[in-house]
Symmetry: C2
Subunit: 487 residues, 2 copies
């Protein structure tokens, strides 16, 4: 056993005795001592390694505490009998790292293509969506609100929070949703979740058996569809038009007990579900004893007058689950969403959440509650509508200038992106690639269509860009599309 090639970093944060302990431990586990069970006397090792004897003793003590060695007074320090040489052989025998056997759920996860951040450098002008515009958010107020709860007298943070959510936030939301979204609910029906995906996952697990049919929109919110499929659901894709979900296109023979819709502003196509379709959808749900999930992901963001009331408020018998999120109107990294549940679902949902994650961070919830209660939220929404509305107008004007009669889109004054249907002659990917080469990031619509082939289309998010960038980006896109058409 040769200690001379051992190296020690005497500048390191890690105490010397610990560095020695780690190397001795490794040597013992690797069987470097071979059949020799006795460690060198601390004095001898200390001399050999040029360190204080107490350092070696500390290392030996730690090894003894962990059971790697036994110290026999007088006789010295020995590798513990329970440390088998066989462990070493096993180590050699099992160099192959563990390979898991996945469940069928696990296999589905692995087969689910997940949009991952592309490795390519971000384009100069990025029409990425699902972004918020940082310069609008009142960070100074937010800082104050967070700090308010960060004091040693406050025991709130030292306990686990309520699983259903911080109650003042649930009350603030119930009040806000009643006044501004036409939602009919009590605070007890509002449950805070770590993002809308979590609410969908819990609902799918609570309500769906493998093989159950679920209605989704096409084009539609792909991640919701993926989640239902992941949990074993059979998806039936119902087409949308400029007025959203085509209720009359629900297959007559459909056995679906669950439908996922975006009535306020259909994602990603755009368009608001008219009253007649809303009533027809509720009627369908009643007749089929089905439940509707209304994803109101950006219902607040309408730029012509106030938002339309939610579908949930029209349901006389609690057949609509309302999903809302702060990701779009505060910031995505907040990871805070909420769900308004039918009375009969509240307790089971909360019990499930208790088991699978114990609720959202209390501090953030408390800050958001105050943000709402003190009027900052509604003021911020006004600023957002102003800023995003202007950006959207700039985008639409630029489209008319630079892509006249070349693209179709649902001209809904709402949301954070516009979905452009391209000339049939063009390939979606070709446009995206050419745009990227021109320094403009636009995004494919194909992933949102449940049936392929899909019409060539791209998504342009405007919420993260300044107006000049929007104008310039569309100009460049116009050039790209023109070239491709001429080619």
């Amino acid at each position: 056993m040769n200690f001379n090639d051992w190296t020690f970093d005497r500048q390191s944060q890690i105490p010397l005795y610990l560095q020695l302990y780690q190397q001795l431990r490794e040597a013992i586990l690797q069987g470097d001592f071979g059949s020799q069970r006795r460690l060198p006397p601390s004095r001898a090792l200390a001399d050999a390694l040029d360190m204080a004897r107490v350092t070696v003793s500390q290392a030996y003590d730690q090894l003894a505490a962990e059971g790697f060695v036994v110290q026999r007074s007088g006789a010295g320090t020995f590798i513990a009998p329970q440390v088998p040489l066989s462990l070493v052989e096993e180590t050699q025998a099992n160099v192959r790292p563990f390979q898991p056997n996945f469940s069928s759920w696990g296999e589905r996860v692995r087969q689910t293509a997940v949009a991952t951040a592309s490795k390519t450098p971000r384009p100069e002008i990025d029409f990425g969506f699902g972004r918020s515009f940082p310069h609008i958010f009142p960070y100074d107020i937010w800082r104050k609100l967070l700090a308010r709860y960060l004091s040693t007298d406050d025991v709130m943070l030292s306990r686990y929070g309520s699983v259903a959510g911080f109650h003042p936030l649930r009350e603030a939301l119930a009040d806000y949703l009643t006044r501004w979204r036409g939602v009919v609910c009590q605070a007890e029906q509002v449950v805070i979740v770590n993002g809308a995906q979590q609410a969908l996952d819990i609902l799918a697990r609570l309500l769906l058996e493998p093989g159950d049919e679920v209605l989704v929109e096409t084009p539609g919110y792909a991640d919701a569809a993926a989640l239902f499929a992941l949990n074993g659901a059979r998806l039936t894709a119902v087409p949308v038009d400029d007025a959203g979900f085509c209720v009359d296109r629900i297959p007559a023979h459909s056995q679906a007990r669950l439908a996922f819709v975006t009535p306020s502003n259909q994602f990603p196509h755009g368009g608001t579900l008219p009253l007649a379709r809303r009533l027809a959808l509720l009627q369908w749900a009643q007749q089929h004893d089905a439940l509707i999930i209304e994803d109101d992901y950006d219902g607040e963001l309408r730029y012509d007058g106030r938002p339309l009331a939610a579908l949930q408020g029209l349901s006389a018998d609690e057949r609509v689950i309302y999903l809302g999120t702060f990701s779009k109107v505060l910031f995505p990294a907040l990871r805070l969403s909420y769900v308004v549940l039918p009375t009969a679902l509240v307790l089971p949902f909360v019990q499930a959440k208790q088991l699978i994650d114990r609720g959202a961070p209390t501090l953030t919830q408390a800050a958001v509650a105050d943000f709402m209660l003190e009027g900052h939220f509604e003021r911020h929404l006004r600023h957002l509508r102003q800023a995003y509305g202007e950006r959207r107008e700039t985008l639409v004007a630029a489209l008319q200038t630079h892509l006249p009669n070349l693209v179709r889109y649902a001209d809904e004054p709402a949301g954070l992106h516009v979905m452009l249907y391209l000339p049939e002659a063009l390939a979606e990917t070709a446009v995206i690639t050419a745009a990227a080469e021109a320094g403009v990031g636009v995004y494919p619509a194909a992933p949102y269509f449940m049936r392929q082939p899909s019409p060539p289309a791209i998504l342009l998010g405007f919420s993260g860009l300044s107006e000049p960038d929007i104008e310039q980006g569309v100009a460049q896109l116009g050039g790209v599309v023109g070239k491709l058409l001429d080619a």
Copy 2:
């Protein structure tokens, strides 16, 4: 149709037109207009309600925008043809609120008893556990770190974060776990989760088919067992003694491919798994091609010298999944935990997390990363060990004074609670009730035993109490136990 009983709050935040819109909307949906489809002229209604005509017009416009009414110039405002009187009948017909059909998973959730906060007033002296001691946490530093990222120039918050976690935090954890917990890992194997329960849920879903066998400890962490059972697993409870998980008590015929253990400090019994058992457990795992989940929920909290190295570091072939949390060492409301995964599990785990919740809040992760990188974390751990170590000594001393030879407990200088085995003659619930009446909160051990009947025992958490309270609480508990024994 009589408008006179309608009430308006002219002081309200809600604009008057909106209050009118809401009452008109309700009246239309309730069918209060009966067969009369024409709404009163705006001037007439304005006079009747004593409000400006423009207010009524705004309300009508909103109703029109939502499709409840149609405005025919000259002719007036009419309830839209698509608003059927039948809706009203349906409304009456469906007073019965929606009743969901639960999946088998949903039914299991509903049958899983979940510990909920008791309605009884908190006792003066509460030996509740899973609490942190707020007065130790450096809130001033924490505030500074949070504020650092809350500036408008920082786009971090305006985008969705990385699903696997904020990379600097993953690197800081990999470094810390290597140096202080003997974990062998790269930053890429470290994934941030919203609490350990989420990691267990994802792992159970990825790896377990209904009916698969899982080894758990008894007494043990009940919520982990509940989660495995919820996901269809068949539980095999393996007893523990003062040295933790009894590897030699694993049934010879066991088909388990997964084992959940707490080697650093067995929960809730207490005790550290000795090296011989660790090696035997790893050998069992290799022989059965099984995976081990090591829950190191409070491995940092040892009060005699430094923590023992984790089981994970002993596995030569990545058979151990390491679970750690900030709930105990920072604060529970942070809802931040982490898992160190075998290489082969990283991508599937992250893909699953992407689908079910998109990752943890970025701001908190960034603050924790700096908290670790700037040395605050290890300093805070030293303070915690000091403070909790003293509290534990106070508790143990008080037990020797006030309950001599009456109770047994694993005297492990670690963790945040002590589990007391009571005299067999006493009923667990009787002790808890009597203690509560004496103003002392102690907690049942029965829920942690996978097999009933369980020996009478109680849990005393000391992390949330001052030393005088601990001393006084135990004194009162001693009196209670004495009385019950005499009775």
